[in-house]
Symmetry: C2
Subunit: 294 residues, 2 copies
């Protein structure tokens, strides 16, 4: 069992697999990372020499999306031929374009788990439990390889899902990539208040509702950009659909069509639970936007 | 000390004031509410007869905004003349329009505290601690009355703020009322995916990032509508500014201006802490939008 990269995903995977008795061999870039990974027990063997992966029949490329799309030549050369290879990238079509048809049996996959942390300190046991692990097999994907990746995912407690790569990319554009821009635009709009006193007051009065709605917009700028860049068509489609909803709501307020506005908000109230992860599905709407009246 | 209405705000206020040794007299609408409020000890005297308020020198109208804007005639008739009167409405200009110049000394105010709960069971002790309590005095507001309301707010541990009513209404439009529509449009857009399989997949893959960004959009439809309705001009201005930010981000993605997009997202990352409530100001960005890569 091989892992390339011991950040949040690779490190967490190493911890879970070792706990279940598998021998984990890991390739990392920096000697300092290798040392720290050994201290943390993220893998049985950690090395900066790609040779560490030679015995591995299944290798997980636990690398950031940009490195998956532009892998160092040395890495490719070092990957054991015939090995089953999978990735963890959050956009699947470009990853497939880059990795299909190599010397290995590639299965594109996306474990949808995480925390706010990153790097060699980020890995935690149990990260994948009950979280979706999506695979996007193609017509010529080796069924045996797909099965191996499924067993890996289920071994760490993930919920296995298979779908078309473009379907995956459209879905994550809707629920992950586009919302980052929606949330960022809220921060820009709140900052755009021209009257300085009101802008200051808005900062003083902002409460948990604003904090939640703006959270992912205030996240890592490089990652937000990379998602939009590598999933551009789906993000544009989702963002265009979102903009039209905003325009429609603006019209209802402009034209004082309050009954229709309330109907649409009622529909939203019904919709939201459908999008909540199983764990959270029973949560109450949570604290109000800015006061006791929401 | 009088309170009209013993819901989340009125009930919490009653609990805090009694804890601090004040005698609290409360007027409620339903006999069943009065009984339950007595059981919960929300006030010393609870009655459905407005006469209960007669001895009170300071009365808090802890009513929903719609009832503040359209109070029952019986209530107005029963309010003790000369009493200092304040409200808890989340929009101030229309409340002032309705209540200024009466037989009482009116101070418009807005305690910005709350939970997701409502009704006679909702009141909790300590709700206002460290939360803003905004007053919007006018030129002819009685300074003595304003001082009494300030002492009330500080007695329950709130952070006292004074500003112009229109300034307050613009600020809450930015950080509370407009964000509800921003968040609701996200649910509508995610639901608007035409391919049924992708729509279903989006529901399965939505994670904490989507849950947070959509939370206030999935809240009480009647309240969201009432906020837009009673603060229409400010909400329209804020929503228009927001729409222009969305259009700008859409253009950057369309034209693949990735450097500018990353710059804007970096600015958002810097901005967000300015809008976090003191308690949360030190919180990490929190869990990722949909996976470990944000």
């Amino acid at each position: 069992m091989g892992i390339v990269g011991l950040g949040l995903i690779g490190g967490s995977l190493g911890l879970d697999l070792r706990q279940r008795g598998l021998e984990v061999r890991a390739l990392v870039h920096r000697p300092s990372t290798a040392e720290r990974a050994r201290e943390r027990g993220l893998a049985d063997q950690v090395d900066t020499d790609p040779a560490v992966l030679q015995p591995c029949g299944l290798v997980v490329l636990a690398l950031p999306l940009d490195q998956l799309l532009h892998p160092p030549a040395a890495l490719e050369a070092a990957l054991p031929a015939e090995a089953v290879l999978t990735d963890v990238g959050s956009v699947k079509a470009p990853v497939l374009e880059r990795w299909r048809g190599g010397r290995w049996r590639f299965v594109a996959s996306h474990p949808m788990a995480g925390t706010a942390q990153a790097g060699v300190e980020a890995g935690v046991a149990g990260l994948f439990a009950e979280r979706p692990w999506v695979a996007t097999p193609e017509a010529d994907t080796d069924p045996g390889a797909l099965e191996q990746v499924r067993q890996l995912a289920e071994l760490v407690g993930a919920r296995w899902l298979c779908c078309d790569a473009s379907q995956h990319d459209r879905a994550v554009a809707l629920i992950s990539h586009m919302p980052v821009l929606v949330s960022a635009a809220l921060l820009e709009a709140a900052d755009g208040e021209n009257d300085g006193a009101t802008a200051q007051l808005a900062r003083q009065l902002a409460s948990s509702g604003f904090a939640d709605t703006s959270r992912i917009g205030g996240g890592n700028p490089a990652l937000g950009t990379l998602m939009a860049r590598s999933n551009r068509d789906a993000v544009l489609a989702a963002l265009g659909r979102y903009r039209r909803q905003i325009e429609a709501l603006e019209q209802l307020v402009q034209q004082q069509r309050w009954g229709e506005l309330e109907q649409r908000l009622s529909r939203c109230q019904q919709l939201r639970p459908e999008f909540l992860p199983p764990a959270a599905a029973t949560e109450p709407p949570g604290p109000p936007a800015a006061d006791g009246k929401r």
